[in-house]
């Protein structure tokens, strides 16, 4: 049995890359035509969990709430984290959930995962919702210590504590890295700049070994997958889906474009005359700079 249990909550999101995304004539996202993928922040959360796998041989579980197609996101996340357990919370009743109702489902799901969780990872935010609330609310519901913007962490398995580095952005100051220690369990919302570091040959070898295991597992992801509807999950329908959502998005407006204060001039890169103009402008700007 593993000495460390780690859960990751993830989300299936629209793939905004060119060639995958479609827009309606009114400029809104054409959801039906747009391909879906594992959200970019979920990807980082899966990487953070995989770090625990490589360094501490953790047991990884992944959970997501979404339509049946969201199992593709679980598969992608498994490929990245070598998870042994995949949870999909899927029921029509969950539809229309805001962050709080989503957190209720995720919290209940995490409690149903095998073993008592020591760390739960979430991404920083979703690329389609951008609220960044689901993570903290799930942490609150679980009663776990919440650590946001984590860029690095180490675990003391024996003493059941975590030392984490948080990137704190303060207005008017350059970024500050705060190092904190907390007893497990914790909930970590991983910073977008997180990059796992493996510094020794043996860590890299373990990385390769688990990566390969993850690939094989993800090819057979269905055998790790459990799907829960509202009854199977055992949540109170009052707290999930539309009824459990105190916030309702009733209108989305386009942000009006601010009036430009700069004098912009469009230059055509294929026109040599324009290039010359750009160069002379740059020279002008550089000449005006005082370089100490």
């Amino acid at each position: 049995m593993s000495e460390l249990n780690v859960a990751v909550i993830i989300k299936l999101e629209p793939d905004f890359s060119e060639g995958s995304v479609s827009y309606n004539p009114d400029g809104t996202l054409n959801r039906a035509e747009t391909k879906n993928t594992l959200g970019p922040h979920s990807t980082i959360a899966a990487h953070a969990a995989f770090y625990a796998k490589v360094m501490y041989n953790a047991r990884i579980s992944i959970g997501t709430m979404g339509p049946p197609i969201a199992e593709s996101a679980l598969q992608m996340a498994q490929r990245l984290s070598d998870a042994e357990e995949l949870h999909l919370y899927s029921d029509r009743i969950f539809a229309g959930a805001d962050t709080l109702a989503t957190a209720e489902v995720l919290k209940t799901g995490i409690e149903k995962m095998q073993g008592k969780m020591d760390i739960v990872f979430s991404g920083h935010r979703a690329s389609d919702g951008e609220t960044g609330q689901t993570g903290p609310q799930t942490a609150w519901k679980l009663g776990f210590t919440f650590l946001g913007n984590v860029i690095d962490y180490k675990i003391d398995i024996q003493n059941r504590t975590i030392t984490a580095k948080r990137l704190v952005r303060l207005q008017g100051f350059s970024d500050v890295v705060e190092e904190i220690e907390a007893p497990l369990p914790v909930f970590i919302s991983i910073d977008p700049s997180y990059k796992p570091l493996f510094n020794t040959i043996s860590q890299r070898l373990a990385f390769g070994k688990f990566q390969k295991e993850a690939k094989i597992r993800a090819e057979n992801y269905k055998q790790y997958l459990k799907v829960f509807n509202v009854q199977q999950l055992g949540v109170d329908p009052k707290y999930v889906g539309l009824p459990g959502s105190p916030t309702i998005v009733y209108k989305v407006e386009r942000i009006p474009r601010g009036k430009a204060t700069r004098q912009a001039e469009v230059l055509d890169g294929s026109n040599p005359e324009h290039i010359r103009k750009a160069v002379s402008k740059m020279k002008e700007a550089l000449a005006a700079m005082v370089i100490k």
Binding site: E18, G19, S22, Y23, G27, T200, I201, L205
Partner: protein, 625 residues
């Protein structure tokens, strides 16, 4: 400090074979590769041979990887035809050299290194894991310290904590940094190198089969000499891959320095040749400019919609024109029948033309531009390919075979790698890593390799096949220049004596006579003009500019340049402004300056620069290679 038995530096086909062979011998080895994944920095022409030589035993790829190699490795096509073309404008004269290609050969497959090395890596890593080893990518070795007392090496990298090993296999390619760090050899000189530039052209599988009259999975190699060389010593090639063509130009670096020309113009000369034009043509969607008067959101929406449709059309078309892939689509249940795929394909095409004004034209599609230096083993192989406990293999040891139309490298590297692995395994068993027991043993093993013999001497049987194949060429074209040689070669007995004499003279004295502008340029042009068939092209290919080619490549940018210019005013560096395949150099106030962002790490400039491979994971990431 962590300790391992063996470190292999460089994850090309030679390094990977070394890892696999050491695992076959149940020895622990780790392979360190700078690229972010195996294969991402490897480029080859390329054909991978397996040989059976009269001159001795060759360690072939299938001996290292086992039967699974021929069953499962992502090989492109088995080359069953090998043809040399002499060109002059629209005239082409062809000589069938298939017999020369088949000489002492079990097989020759066209390959793309990115895919193939990834497969080799999977095999090697799986075996290595059993003995506590494996592959570590994204790590660049920066220093090796020899511990005299312990007789071991400490390997330092840019990314990891240092570690200790008993022996090292340097498989870090033609621009081997390990050779420089360890002082094992000097950098190769331009006179010892070839520069190769290649583009990969996309064409559906079935179209290749039909166009080149090939059975499924069979392939052809076309070699070119004559005016496509723009008066340089060397030539061009077109190899059929499964659903791409490799079109390349390989020229003697000395000859390029003498008459500098942008390397891509040599590939362009190939692409513009009427015969090759017809080889590479395809049905290509061409976008119209989007109406700039439309609202910006609408312009963006249209652009995205077209991109998506073209992407779908390309993917589906690739499947439709490949038996394996179209059957797969039907089997997966996504399509009921092949006809349905065709219908869908037509409907996307119609949507593109009707709705978005996309037109379909005859042109060609370039997928990747690449370049590399190739060592000419005749001129630069290391006489003793080791230094202390470091054994050099493949390109790093300067071991490539260039004999007329015979061009081999991958198989040579694999043979070296097996010899190196065997030598190290023997040293581990006796715990003796001294130069006498390890280095000298390896050196003599390499000396016994048939490939080494091919780098030293003319093989009279091979020459006979070559001469027989070209017997239809009127003697007077050649005799004006090589009358004595021709006389000597005309009868079997005299030829045998003449070759013996030639071999006594040695390649060094022979090569300037044989590898000349006459052989590679003038004679082929004359042959083409007098005997050639006229080939006309049906369209003019739209050849991308070098900027477009670089833009298409994938880089993991590093703000620190991995190259430092040492002599900004030297003649050599000034020629680099022309000879760098990706135009990284420019001249400003009589000083050559470097912009490393588009560097594809070929090493063309390494002679007079402080040249290193990029740090781990940085730099070029080839998709084909």
């Amino acid at each position: 400090m962590e300790k391992y038995d063996v470190a292999i530096i460089g994850g090309g086909s030679a390094g990977l074979a070394a890892l696999k062979q050491l695992s076959n011998l149940r020895k622990q080895a780790i392979l360190v590769e700078a690229g972010n994944k195996i294969g991402s920095k490897n480029v080859s022409g390329g054909i991978l041979y397996s040989k059976k030589s009269k001159k001795g035993h060759v360690h072939n790829v299938e001996d290292v990887y086992g039967d699974v190699f021929l069953r499962e490795a992502p090989l492109e096509r088995k080359i069953t035809k090998y043809i040399l073309h002499s060109t002059s404008k629209d005239k082409v004269y062809s000589i069938d050299l298939t017999a020369a290609h088949d000489y002492e050969s079990n097989f020759g497959y066209s390959v793309l290194m990115n895919k193939l090395n990834a497969w080799f890596a999977d095999q090697a890593a799986e075996s290595a894991q059993k003995f506590g080893g494996g592959i570590i990518s994204g790590v660049h070795v920066s220093e090796i310290k020899f511990d005299e007392q312990r007789n071991t090496s400490i390997v330092k990298t840019d990314e990891l904590e240092e570690f200790e090993v008993k022996a090292i296999i340097a498989a870090d390619g033609v621009n081997s940094e390990i050779a420089q760090i360890s002082d094992a050899r000097k950098k190769f000189l331009p006179s010892q190198l070839y520069q190769g530039v290649k583009v990969v052209v996309k064409i559906p599988e079935d179209v290749i089969n039909e166009r080149f009259s090939l059975k499924s999975r069979e392939g052809v190699a076309h070699l070119f000499a004559g005016d496509v060389s723009l008066n340089h010593i060397g030539g061009g090639f077109v190899y059929t891959n499964l659903d791409t063509l490799s079109v390349g130009a390989v020229y003697h670096f000395d000859s390029l320095l003498e008459n500098p020309v942008e390397p891509y113009t040599l590939v362009d000369a190939m692409l513009k040749n009427p015969m090759i034009c017809e080889f590479i043509k395809d049905d290509v969607p061409s976008r119209r400019k989007i109406d700039k008067n439309l609202p910006q959101e609408e312009q963006l929406r249209i652009r995205f919609a077209i991109t998506k449709l073209i992407k779908s059309w390309n993917e589906l078309r690739e499947s439709y024109f490949s038996k394996g892939k179209r059957d797969e689509r039907v089997k997966s249940g996504k399509y009921q029948s092949v006809e349905e795929i065709k219908e869908k394909l037509d409907s996307i095409r119609e949507q593109l033309t009707q709705k978005y004004g996309v037109i379909f034209v005859t042109d060609y599609v370039e997928a990747e531009y690449s370049a590399k230096l190739i060592p000419d083993g005749k001129r630069c192989r290391m006489s003793k390919p080791y230094h202390r406990n470091i054994l050099f293999v493949g390109d790093a040891a300067g071991r490539g075979i260039f004999v007329g139309p015979r061009i081999e490298g991958i198989n040579v590297g694999i043979d070296d790698a097996v010899r190196a692995a065997n030598s190290i395994s023997r040293a581990i068993d006796k715990n003796n890593f001294s130069s006498d027991y390890l280095g000298e043993y390896y050196s003599s093993s390499v000396e016994e390799s048939p490939y080494t013999k091919d780098m030293k001497q003319i093989d009279k049987d091979y020459l006979k096949i070559f001469l027989d194949a070209s017997k239809d060429v009127p003697k007077d074209i050649i005799s004006a220049r090589y009358s004595t040689v021709l006389k000597l070669m005309s009868s079997d007995t005299i030829r045998s004596v003449a070759i013996k004499f030639a071999n006594i003279l040695g390649y060094e004295r022979l090569l300037p006579m044989v590898e000349s502008e006459d052989t590679y340029v003038k004679v082929p042009i004359e042959i083409a003009e007098r005997l050639g068939k006229t080939v006309s092209k049906t369209y003019e290919p739209t050849i991308p500019s070098i900027a477009e080619r670089i833009a298409k490549l994938k880089f993991n940018d590093d703000s620190n340049p991995h190259i430092k210019v040492l002599k900004p005013q030297s003649e050599f560096m000034k020629k680099l402004v022309t000879l760098c395949p990706t135009k990284c150099y420019s001249l400003e106030n009589d000083n050559v300056i470097l912009q490393h962002e588009g560097c594809i790490e070929c090493g063309t400039c390494s002679q007079e620069t402080d040249w290193k491979h990029t740090r781990g994971e940085k730099g070029i990431v080839y998709q084909y290679g």
